[in-house]
Each structure stands twice: as C-alpha cells, then as structure tokens.
C-alpha cells in the first residue's frame, strides 16, 4: 500500500505520459459520410422498390439507417467522442433540412402556379372592367406600396425613439417598465384587432363603414411599432457602455452621444429590424380588408376611399367564386399576386441584409 503511494509518478518508461502522448488517431476516410449515405439510402431503396413505398417512406427509412450506420462505424474506428460528434452533426443538419422543407415547398408551389400569370399587362393594368381573362394587379401593388410606406413612416421613427427612451433614458424606472410591458402586450395583438382599432377610430371620424387607406396604414403601424421598438432596443443594448462613456468624457452632451455615437453604431441592426418589420406587415390581410377595403381600379389617394392591396386581392380572387368560366382566371391571378408579394418581401429582406452590412461598423484592415 504505502509503497504504491510513495512510488514516483512515472517509473515504467513505456507508460511515461510525457513522452508517449499519441496525437494521431485512426480516422474514417473523408468520403465516409457520402459513402454511408449512399449505402443507407441504397439499402432502403430495395424494399422501397419491391414494396412500392412512397418516396417519403424511402427517405425516412434511409435516414434511420444512416443515423445508425455512420455513428456506429465511427464509434468502432474513431472512438466515442467522434461518434457523438457525427451523430449530433447529422441531427443538426436534419432538423435544418426539415425547417427548410415548408419554405421550399411554399416557394415551389407559388412559383409553379403563379409564374404563368406574370406578364407585362399583369404589372401595368388594373382590373377595372375586367371580369375573366386579362387585367392585372397594378392597382394592388401600388396600394400595398402606398399603405406600407405610410405605415413605415409612422412607426419607424416612433419605434426608434421609444427604444432610445427605454434604453438611454428609462434605465428601468417605472415608466420604462410599464412601456416595455405594453410593448410586449402590443406584440401579441392579433392583426384583426389592429384592424378593428383603425375601423373604430375612423368610424368615429367619418361615420359608419369608412373605407380609407390611411386607416390601413394606421392598423399596420399598430402591428409594426412593437416590432421596431423591440429590435431597436436589443440593438441599442448591444452598444457597449464604454462607447457612451468615451463620448461623454469628451464633453459631448448626452443627446449628441446618442445621435452620433450610439445610433450609428447600432444602425445596421436597427435598419435590419425595421426592414424585417416592414416585410412582416406587408403581407397582412385582415386589417386591410376591414378598413382599406377592396377596389378593382387604381386609387393613389390614401385619404379618400378604398384602396386595393396584394393580400386583399389574393383573398378576394381566391374566394370570389362567380361564373364558372371566370374562376380559373381568378385563381391564376391569385397565385400570380402571391408570387409578386413573396418577391416584394424577399426583396425587402435582401435589402435589409445589404443595408445592414453596409452600415455595420467595420474593422477592415
């Protein structure tokens, strides 16, 4: 007993760790993943062909084989840690693919069914006097642009200023805590309620059943403001206090510190957040249906009368019914408008990324 305790740590040179730490380990070849995948789905293909399973069945069985095969193989050759690594890698990639599935499916369907509707006339004509074939969605594109732009002009400044108050001035006092709570509540407001709010507001101002596009903008603002406040708030919180202190210590007043140091530093994120908020409300249907109404012609005046928008047009065309011979054209028009709406939203997202990376602070060497 005592002997082993007092024995020097390394006696036998062959177990001397300081000289014999192996840095290399057996590894699977780099094509192992591809190989295992090919074998798994190949094996699953046999019963799938013989029993004529649907494709989904083949994919799932192949996946199960793959999940079992690659980590087991790796475990036998590379050891436990690598095997777990490979298993988790497969799971992460699989969930990613699963998450992408609905997105890809939606885009595929919309493009497949909507692409046929696109034409020059589709983008330049309204539906004034058109019942069956022909006409376009120019009026709805313009309506969506006008209503969304006005909504952004209302809500982005309000949202950013509210966030500046919460982060820079509120400092967790009672008012700012109340505001944060209200913003959280607002985030959860169903869009139809925002529409009802605008409807009630303009019923008070204009009498029963008002149809006015600015009402749609206001309803969308109600939905946008909390998103802008939230995203801006998070961005402002990311700006390190050291920067604020650096500016203050130079004798810069607080408002200049905020406008010239804090906001520019966070600008990339703020712009991204605002653009995503725009993209989010551009597809709202319910509130616009309630207050902006529907129109077959083009209306550029947001303060007078109904205005058609893309989501409302899609809803209308897809549900109108009417003469049987018109229905196919209406359905095609709805898909076409859906494609245009998705393109607009994607364009906005893309724009958000470009603008975001353009404004974000650079380290550049």
């Amino acid at each position: 007993m005592t002997d082993t305790l007092h024995e020097p740590f390394h006696t036998d040179p062959s177990t001397d760790l300081s000289t014999h730490v192996p840095l290399t380990k057996p590894q699977l070849p780099s094509i192992a993943t591809t190989l295992a995948a090919a074998v798994s789905w190949g094996l699953a293909g046999l019963p799938a062909l013989l029993l004529s399973w649907p494709i989904a069945g083949w994919v799932v069985v192949g996946w199960i084989l793959f999940v079992l095969a690659l980590p087991t193989w790796s475990g036998l050759i590379e050891g436990g840690r690598k095997a777990v690594d490979r298993l988790v890698t497969i799971l992460v990639w699989s969930t990613f693919a699963l998450a992408m599935l609905p997105l890809v499916a939606v885009i595929y369907t919309v493009v497949e069914r909507g692409a046929g509707a696109l034409s020059v006339e589709f983008f330049t004509a309204s539906q004034q006097g058109v019942l069956g074939e022909g006409g376009g969605i120019y009026h709805a594109i313009m309506g969506t642009l006008i209503i969304t732009v006005i909504a952004s002009v209302i809500s982005i400044p309000i949202g950013i200023m509210a966030a500046v108050y919460l982060v820079e001035y509120g400092k967790n006092n009672r008012l700012s805590r109340t505001l944060t709570f209200l913003v959280d509540v607002m985030t959860g407001i169903p869009s139809i309620v925002a529409g009802l709010f605008a409807l009630a507001l303009f019923t008070l101002l204009l009498g029963p059943l008002p149809r006015i596009a600015i009402g749609g903008s206001i309803a969308l603002s109600v939905l946008m403001i909390p998103i802008v406040v939230r995203s801006t708030e998070e961005m402002l919180k990311l700006v390190p206090d050291e920067l604020r202190e650096g500016a203050l210590a130079l004798g810069v007043p607080k408002w200049r510190t905020i406008t010239k140091v804090v906001l520019p530093t966070a600008l990339g994120g703020i712009v991204t957040g605002a653009t995503l908020a725009v993209a989010r409300v551009a597809g709202e249907t319910a509130p616009l249906l309630l207050i902006a109404g529907t129109l077959r012609g083009t209306n550029f005046n947001p303060f007078d009368g109904a205005m058609q928008t893309l989501p409302v047009l899609i809803f209308g065309e897809a549900t109108r019914g009417g003469l049987a011979e018109y229905v196919p054209f209406q359905i095609e028009r709805a898909w076409g408008a859906a494609l245009v709406l998705i393109m607009i939203v994607m364009l906005l997202n893309l724009l958000a990324r470009v603008v975001g990376s353009f404004f974000s602070p650079k380290t550049g060497r």
Partner: protein, 259 residues
C-alpha cells in the same frame, strides 16, 4: 489655465455599496499625480469622480466635495458636460468609436460637438495628437481606415490622442500604459512630461517605477479590510513616498511585500 483639484471627505457609492470612503487630497496644478494601490481598491472610481463620469453609472452617487479652482464640481448648478470638456479622460480599456476612421476618432471631441474647423487645422490637430501618443508613424498611411482595426495597444494610444486633441486642462489617465510595450510606454511618459507644463495630470498605474518616474505626488489607495470600502492610505510627494513613507502598508506595497 491649468487647474488644481481639492477633494475633501469624499464618499463614493455604487447604489448602496460604499466603494471608497473618506478621501482627502489636493491635486496640484501643472503637476503629475499618480494613484497606486491593489486591484479593486477604488482608484478608477476616485478618478471618475474628478470629471463627473461616476454618475453616468445608474445608481452611482457621491458625497463630499470636489473643488476645481474654487468651483465645487458637485454643485447643482454645475453642468457636467462643461466639466468634462475641461477635464479629459483616458479609460482603462480602449474604446475607439467603431463607426469612425482613425482620423475621425482623433477629432471625435470636436466633430461630435459639431465644432467647425478648417481642413488644415483639423489635419494639424490629428498629426499633433497622434504624434503625442506615439501612434503617428504607424497609422499615418491609413488614417481613413476604421479605428477598430488597430491592435489593442494602438487603440489605447488612439484614445490618448483623442483625449489630448481637445486640449483639456486636466487629463485623467486610467492605466494608460497597461497594454503598451516599453517603447510606447516611454513615449507616453515623455508625453506626460511635456503636457505637464500646461496641464494637470492624474494617472492611475500598477507600475511602481512608472509612478516614481513620472509623478510629483502619489496617492496610495487600499482596502481597509476585505469587504470594507477602499480608502486613501497615504498622499505625499512621490520622493517621500518612495523613500520614506509615513505608513507601513505603503512601504510594504511599494517594496512588494504585500498580499
């Protein structure tokens, strides 16, 4: 022009936490005063009260008096912005503005206050300040590049250049050389010697030799005991402090026989 600072019975709080208590000292005009002491004893905290940067931290407050050339800093009628314009500061951690180029970072004190000036004047200020901070040669060819692209020590010197560009009357430096190599350190010490003829300088340092080299007066801070607030143990001319200190703890700390 240069200012002296009288501190009397200063207690400094973070919320309910008394960080430093009972500080009394006089920082003389056109002299270099060094603060030394173990980590966490409140050197940075005291320094930040001298230009009213302490109150920027939520809940932070100060009791007692800080008088700069006869004006009480914590008088309700005093504008902290005006104070900070005269009493500049270099922080313990470099904090260049990430949205600005090197050039704009140096001019930040002027630009952020929307002070108009000619291009030639601005160029002069940038060159003079960067030379003062011993950074000019390294960055003169890439003044328009972002300040964040510099190394840690270069960023620290950029912040020193930024602080001296506005020609404050008092300059507070919190461990300005902690990230610098010996060459830059000696350049900063030269700068301190040079600035001393016009400005009042307070420097926090963990480097005893540096305190001995650059300062005229030295203040030794220490914790009363663990969990107790920090205090100013001894404040004396540097010569006396390093040869014949009044306090045993000071001698122990300076000679390295300490904790």
């Amino acid at each position: 022009m240069a200012k002296s600072i009288d501190v009397s019975d200063l207690n400094i709080y973070y919320g309910d936490f008394l960080a430093v208590s009972g500080v009394n000292m006089t920082v003389k005009a056109r002299q270099v005063t060094a603060f030394i002491g173990p980590s966490g004893c409140g050197k940075s905290t005291v320094l930040r009260t001298l230009n009213r940067m302490h109150e920027v931290i939520p809940g932070a407050r100060v009791e007692g008096k800080v008088v700069v050339d006869g004006q009480s800093l914590y008088d309700p009628s005093v504008d902290p912005v005006a104070v900070r314009r005269q009493i500049g500061m270099v922080f313990q951690r470099p904090n260049p503005f990430p949205t600005m180029s090197i050039y704009d970072n140096v001019l930040a004190g002027n630009k952020l206050n929307a002070r108009k000036m000619k291009k030639s004047e601005a160029d002069d200020i940038v060159e003079r300040s960067l030379k003062g901070a011993n950074l000019w040669n390294e960055v003169k060819d890439r003044l328009s590049k972002p300040g964040m692209g510099l190394s840690g020590g270069q960023q620290q010197r950029l912040c020193i250049a930024r602080a001296i560009a506005v020609r404050p009357q008092v300059l507070l430096m919190d461990e300005p050389c902690s990230a610098l190599d010996p060459i830059s350190t000696s350049a900063i010490e030269d700068l301190i010697h040079e600035l001393k003829s016009e400005y009042t300088i307070v420097i926090v340092t963990h480097n005893m030799q540096q305190a001995a080299r650059v300062s005229d007066d030295t203040g030794f801070f220490n914790l009363k005991a663990t969990g107790e607030p920090g205090q100013l143990v001894e404040f004396n001319p540097t010569k006396k402090m390093f040869t014949n200190p009044d306090n045993e703890a000071t001698e122990a700390y300076i000679s390295g026989r300490f904790g």
